[in-house]
Structures are given as structure tokens and as C-alpha cells.
């Protein structure tokens, strides 16, 4: 694949029209925090039938899950799920002993808008593209919207759809995949970013009828507005297991639960269209019905593997986000260079300006190729390895950040002014190197595979 298909071009044209009509006029309100992004996202979902598609996909996945649960319940000597839920430490994601750095799980990014049902996308570059094209188009103007959307659909909903029981899917998943409700995904804590799993302080203490949750989370995308929160905490069963190696459990919380507080949006460098907040839990009582992954634990499935699959989709989404930023910065820079006159001629005539444009084009080609590579691999049914996805994310994030900063530089004083739009994209793009795994964490993932460790 070296270019979009005719159909994909049609999708892009339709989404671009929507973005220009519905998003661009509101970017200032979104960026100043006066307008949460959710209604715009919902408008996009309904305009393009994305909600309907998500609902249909949800019903299929739910039916499959129900059928598989019925098979298991009917099987003789089935795993005693009930017994596992209370005290016996079912773990969604076990904190690795030697892998303390695993956990950019906790990064607030997660732009994978990918549907919760991966199987429906496998072997079909077409539908993977349907996910990435809106990301690219939105990021030309407002990457924050994509982050808000991606965390809700790609992380919160996705985790519930993968780890939850049919009942849990029905209770929380349906409204999240259609974006009727807003989801957040809470791992990162004030004392742990890249070391999210190892350094986690939030605790889940087994009690009669469930657990008592305590702790606080920070940098949580959608935190201030979320209706549904996937919350990670370490099992504190009083057995004296060192904190670092305690199992990590995940729970689903609802807005307004007793003892559960959601902060107002935090002030950030950029990405203002994506509300970020803190969560505080003090003695929040939850029943076993809110624990995710009990079944996975009983069937011996590896929680870490599922987390890694999340990373891959998340990082591919980030390449698409980067492409949107780069495309827009390049287009604006070309336009500016041709029209800005200095010493009686357009600055496009100056070779130092041409160098900037050429480097932007190289970055655009490279990132576009990475996006195409991801789509091709999806079509071939061979998902990227974690290291490959990390390489893609590392390069794309750096490229987006550099291109956006160079666009500011190319426009000089004008570029530094909000009116010319590129300064916002530059501030927004910086976070690409930080969330969904910092650049430095990506390096370790790449190196680990290269060195066979």
C-alpha cells in the first residue's frame, strides 16, 4: 500500500468536511477549556454511523461472550470462578517482578480508537483504516479530541470488552463503545509514571462482599468528566507480599460512588481539548461484580499479554495522530512560505526555508509509510510486535514534535502567535513523546527485543 484507496479517500473527504464544519470553528472554545470535547465526538459518531457500527459490533461480541460463558458453565469440573473472586487474588495484570518499567500502561494517552472488538478488524485493512482516518483528520486541528476519544473507546471500553464478563460488558461496555458515556482508564499515580505497575500505591483490600479501594491517580484523561472509570489497584490481602510484586487488579467505578472524587481539569502545556484530571478514592466499597478479569485469571490467560496488545493498537494510533499534525503543519508552512514576502520575494525562494519544508516532507512520507505498514500488517493478520510498535511510536512522536516546532520557526513571530495555529499543534505534539509510553520507554522496548532480553 502506498496510497489510500478510492473508498478511503471518500471517507477522508467526508471526515474532513465534518472537521472543517464542526470542529474548526470550535477549536478556540475547546482549547480554552470552555467546551468539553464530548458533544463534538458524539456528533461525529452519529454523523458517520460510527455509533451504529459500534453497537452492531458490540452485540456480536456480547453474543459470542455469552455463548462461551454458557459452554464453560456447562462443562464438567469447570473452574470455580465464584471462589476466585473474593480473596484468592484474581489478577488482571500481575505486576512483573523484574519488569518494573513495564507500565507505560499508566500513561494518559492511548489514542487507539480501535473498536473494542479486535477480531472484527483482523485481516481487514479497510476497517482499520476507518479507525485511523478520522484520527488523522481530527489531529490536523485538534489532537486533544482524539486523545479524549481514544482513552474512552480505545482503553476504557476496550479493557472492559476484553477482560469483562458478558454482564460487565452489558453494564458498562455498550454505552462506552457508542460514546453515549465517557470512560477513563486509571493507572498512573503521582509517585509513578513509567513505573506504573511496580510503583503503584493504590490498594484493594478484600473484605466481606468485595473489596475496599484506596489511593489516588493523576494525569487521567477524561478524569473530570468520566461516567465510567477502569481503576487499577494492588491487592492488599495482608499476606506480607512485598508491594512491588503484589498482583494488580482492575475494577470498574461509576461516577458519584461514595468515597470516589474526580478533580477539575488540570492546567497543561497543551492538548487542552482533552480534559485531564486526578482521581481520589477513600474507602470505596466495591462488590466482585466490579472486578475485571476474574475469568481470565481462572482460565490462566496472561494479563500482561493483553496489556501489550493494547499498547500496539495505542502506538499505531499515535502514528496516525502524528501524521495528522505533520500533514497540517506542512500544508500551512507551504502556504505561508509562498505568500510571505521578505526582501521583495516569497520566503519560499530562500533555501533555508526550503530545507525546512523538505525535512517536513521527509517526515510526512516516513510517518505515512509507517501508518500504511500498520494497515498492511493488520490486513495480513500479523499484528506488530511490541518492539516494532514502539519503534513506530518513537519515530512518529519525535517527527510530529519536530515538524510542528519547525513550522513555528518557519513562520517566525507569526508562528508564535495563536492565530497561525501551528503553536497549538507544537504544544499538543510534545505530549506524543510523553504519553502512551515516553520516548525513553519506547527505546527500552526496542532495545530489549534487539538484544534478545
Amino acid at each position: 500500500m502506498f496510497e489510500w484507496t478510492e473508498e478511503q479517500v471518500a471517507v477522508r473527504a467526508a471526515v474532513r468536511r465534518f472537521v472543517e464544519a464542526e470542529v474548526v470553528p470550535r477549536v478556540d472554545d475547546l482549547e480554552h477549556g470552555d467546551l468539553p470535547p464530548y458533544d463534538v465526538i458524539r456528533a461525529m459518531y452519529s454523523s458517520f454511523g460510527m455509533d451504529q457500527l459500534a453497537r452492531e459490533r458490540f452485540e456480536r461480541t456480547l453474543a459470542e461472550r455469552r455463548a462461551s460463558e454458557a459452554r464453560k458453565a456447562g462443562a464438567p469440573a469447570g473452574a470455580p470462578l465464584g471462589a476466585a473472586t473474593a480473596g484468592a487474588a484474581p489478577s488482571a495484570v500481575r505486576s512483573g517482578s523484574a519488569r518494573a518499567e513495564e507500565p507505560e500502561l499508566g500513561e494518559p494517552g492511548a489514542p487507539a480508537v480501535a473498536g473494542a472488538d479486535r477480531s472484527a478488524r483482523r485481516g481487514d485493512a479497510g476497517s482499520a483504516a476507518m479507525t485511523l482516518i478520522p484520527i488523522i483528520e481530527l489531529c490536523r486541528h485538534c489532537p486533544g479530541i482524539v486523545t479524549a476519544m481514544g482513552v474512552s473507546v480505545g482503553l476504557a471500553a476496550r479493557t472492559i470488552m476484553r477482560r469483562g464478563t458478558a454482564d460487565q460488558m452489558e453494564r458498562w461496555g455498550r454505552d462506552l463503545v457508542t460514546f453515549e458515556k465517557i470512560g477513563a482508564w486509571a493507572i498512573t499515580e503521582p509517585g509513578s509514571g513509567s513505573d506504573a505497575l511496580g510503583g503503584m500505591q493504590a490498594s484493594a483490600r478484600p473484605v466481606d462482599g468485595g473489596y475496599v479501594l484506596n489511593g489516588s491517580k493523576t494525569f487521567i484523561t477524561n478524569g473530570p468528566y468520566a461516567d465510567t472509570v477502569v481503576f487499577y489497584a494492588k491487592l492488599d490481602d495482608g499476606t506480607g507480599t512485598p508491594r512491588r510484586s503484589r498482583p494488580v487488579l482492575s475494577f470498574v467505578l461509576d461516577r458519584g460512588m461514595t468515597g470516589f472524587e474526580q478533580s477539575a481539569p488540570m492546567r497543561k502545556m497543551g492538548l487542552h481539548s482533552s480534559p485531564t484530571g486526578e482521581l481520589f478514592l477513600s474507602d470505596v466499597h466495591v462488590g466482585p461484580d466490579r472486578l475485571l478479569g476474574a475469568e481470565h485469571e481462572a482460565s490462566g490467560s496472561d494479563g500482561r499479554q493483553s496489556a501489550k496488545e493494547n499498547f500496539v493498537a495505542e502506538r499505531a494510533g499515535l502514528a496516525a495522530m502524528s501524521l495528522g499534525v505533520i500533514e497540517q503543519c506542512l500544508a500551512l508552512s507551504i502556504d505561508y512560505a509562498k505568500n510571505r514576502m521578505l526582501w521583495g520575494k516569497p520566503i519560499a525562494d530562500f533555501q533555508l526555508v526550503q530545507l525546512k519544508l523538505a525535512k517536513m516532507e521527509v517526515a510526512r512520507l516516513n510517518v505515512e509509510n509507517l501508518v500504511f505498514r500498520h494497515l498492511e500488517m493488520e490486513a495480513a493478520g500479523r499484528p506488530m510486535s511490541l518492539a516494532e510498535a514502539s519503534a513506530l511510536k518513537l519515530y512518529s512522536a519525535q517527527a510530529a514534535s519536530e515538524v510542528a516546532m519547525e513550522a513555528v520557526q518557519l513562520m517566525g513571530g507569526n508562528g508564535y502567535m495563536a492565530e497561525y495555529r501551528v503553536e497549538q499543534l507544537a504544544r499538543d505534539a510534545k505530549v506524543f513523546q510523553i504519553y502512551a509510553g515516553t520516548d525513553e520507554i519506547q527505546v527500552t522496548h526496542i532495545a530489549r527485543e534487539l538484544l534478545g532480553r
Binding site: 478510492e6 471518500a10 467526508a14 468536511r17 465534518f18 454523523s47 458517520f48 454511523g49 460510527m50 457500527l53
Partner: protein, 257 residues
């Protein structure tokens, strides 16, 4: 109810256009898009056709181009007839109307919708000529269209306000950009559009004589083309305490107050 919507595929207005130096007509090679002004007719057609009926698109295009038609199919139209023929090169509005009318005859529509004018040619005469050739009544400049009891009721935009017009069906109605808000094609619709039937016909298929259409049949000729006058610099008024009066004078001149 079955609705025919006449649609035109035009060069992307975002790309710089070019004129053929000989014929002085717009160069229409390569990819064409659905004329924005046609999206309103398509939307109106989809709403009026309802679940029981369907919308058929009728279009004339050079080079068998269909990408613009696919956009309207993605919005929900059921099928399309696209007439492409080298003999159609140089067609004027009447030639186009002859072709569209012949194509529409094959469908059997209760209602025919068209835009008031195209965004590339702006002659604004083709739809009414189509109605005349089909022997049907026509109503132009609709800002609202409703259908009941085999009649179409139209609020017809005028300079002063609007007229309420009633017309028996079948008939042809041209719609303005205010008539309805066009939907975005859904992703599903875009995927489905690829497999919807597009009937590609030639002039001969329609039973038309090639000499009656295209440059051969044209009754109009563009003799010359001049660039639009460059915009003037405007007047700069320095406020010496009387700017408000100058502004009122200016607006009075334009008959705006």
C-alpha cells in the same frame, strides 16, 4: 415514492481550474467531485423517497467519471445512470437537458429534483429545459418541499420573501441550498456505494442522434473569456468625528439602509 435527482460532477473547486483555450470551456479531465449544490437535492430526495421509495441519480459526465456520483450513492441513493460519450463534448445547457431527459424517461420518477444551478457553469437553465422536454411542470428555487396526495407543495424563494406553490406530480423541482441540511455519508454508506449499480450509457443507448448533442448540436458558443476585474482597494475613511455619517451615507448608497 421514486425520486430522480439530477447531479453534476465538477472539477474540485479547491484545485485551480483551467479553461480550454479553444472552446473556452472548463477543463474537466481527471477526477471530478459531486457539485456541492447537488447535495441538497440528494438529501431532499432521500427524505421524500422514504423507506418505500428510492432515489435514482442521473448524470452526464466526461470520461465515464463516477467518483462524484459515488458520493451521492454513499449518502443513500439506490442507483445511478451516468451518460458518457465523446459525442457529448462541447454540450451546451440544452444538449445536456436532452440527454438528462432521455435518461430520466428510463426511470419513471414521481418527482425530479435538481439544484437551481451548478457551481461550475452557473447557467441555471438545464433543469427547466429538462422539465420542458419531458412535458412536465417545474417549480424553481424551492426552500421547502413537501409531498401529499400526489401533489408537491413548495415554498419558492423570491427576492421579497417566498411564494407557496402547489404542483401535480410528476414534476421537476429545483432546490436551493436552504432546503435541507445534507447528511454526511456514513462509513457504511461509503463502503456500500462501491457495489451500487451505476448504469453507464452512451448517446446511442438513449436513442439520441449524435448530431443533436455535444458541440454539433450546441446552440450556444462561448466567443471569448475575460478575467474578472481585480478588486479595487476600497475607500479609507479617516474619522474626523463624522465617520458615523460617512458610514450611513455609504450604506445608503448601497441601498442597505
Amino acid at each position: 415514492m421514486n425520486v430522480v435527482v439530477c447531479v453534476k460532477q465538477i472539477p474540485d473547486p479547491a484545485a485551480p481550474g483551467a479553461l480550454d483555450p479553444q472552446s473556452h470551456t472548463l477543463v474537466r479531465e481527471g477526477k471530478l467531485i459531486l457539485d456541492d449544490s447537488d447535495a441538497y437535492g440528494v438529501e431532499m430526495g432521500l427524505q421524500l423517497a422514504g423507506d418505500a421509495g428510492e432515489v435514482t441519480l442521473v448524470s452526464m459526465a466526461p470520461n465515464q467519471e463516477v467518483s462524484g456520483v459515488r458520493t451521492a450513492l454513499a449518502m443513500g441513493a439506490a442507483k445511478a445512470i451516468v451518460v458518457s460519450d465523446p459525442a457529448l463534448k462541447g454540450s451546451d445547457a440544452l444538449s445536456t437537458a436532452k440527454v438528462l431527459a432521455k435518461a430520466i424517461e428510463r426511470v419513471g420518477a414521481d418527482l425530479i429534483l435538481a439544484a437551481t444551478e451548478s457551481t461550475d457553469g452557473y447557467t441555471g437553465t438545464t433543469p427547466v429545459q429538462v422539465a420542458e422536454l419531458l412535458g412536465l411542470p417545474s417549480v424553481t428555487f424551492a426552500k421547502k418541499v413537501t409531498v401529499s396526495d400526489g401533489k408537491v407543495r413548495v415554498e419558492r424563494q423570491t427576492e421579497a420573501g417566498f411564494d407557496e406553490v402547489e404542483c401535480p406530480m410528476p414534476c421537476l423541482v429545483t432546490v436551493t441550498a436552504g432546503v435541507v441540511e445534507p447528511r454526511y455519508p456514513s462509513f457504511k454508506g461509503i463502503m456500500a456505494a462501491k457495489s451500487k449499480p451505476v448504469d453507464q450509457l452512451t448517446v446511442a443507448d438513449l436513442g439520441l442522434d449524435a448530431s443533436s448533442v455535444g458541440a454539433a448540436g450546441a446552440r450556444q458558443e462561448i466567443t471569448s473569456v475575460a478575467a474578472a476585474e481585480a478588486r479595487g482597494g476600497g475607500d479609507i475613511v479617516v474619522d474626523e468625528g463624522d465617520a458615523h455619517e460617512r458610514i450611513v451615507q455609504f450604506l445608503e448608497q448601497l441601498k442597505l439602509v
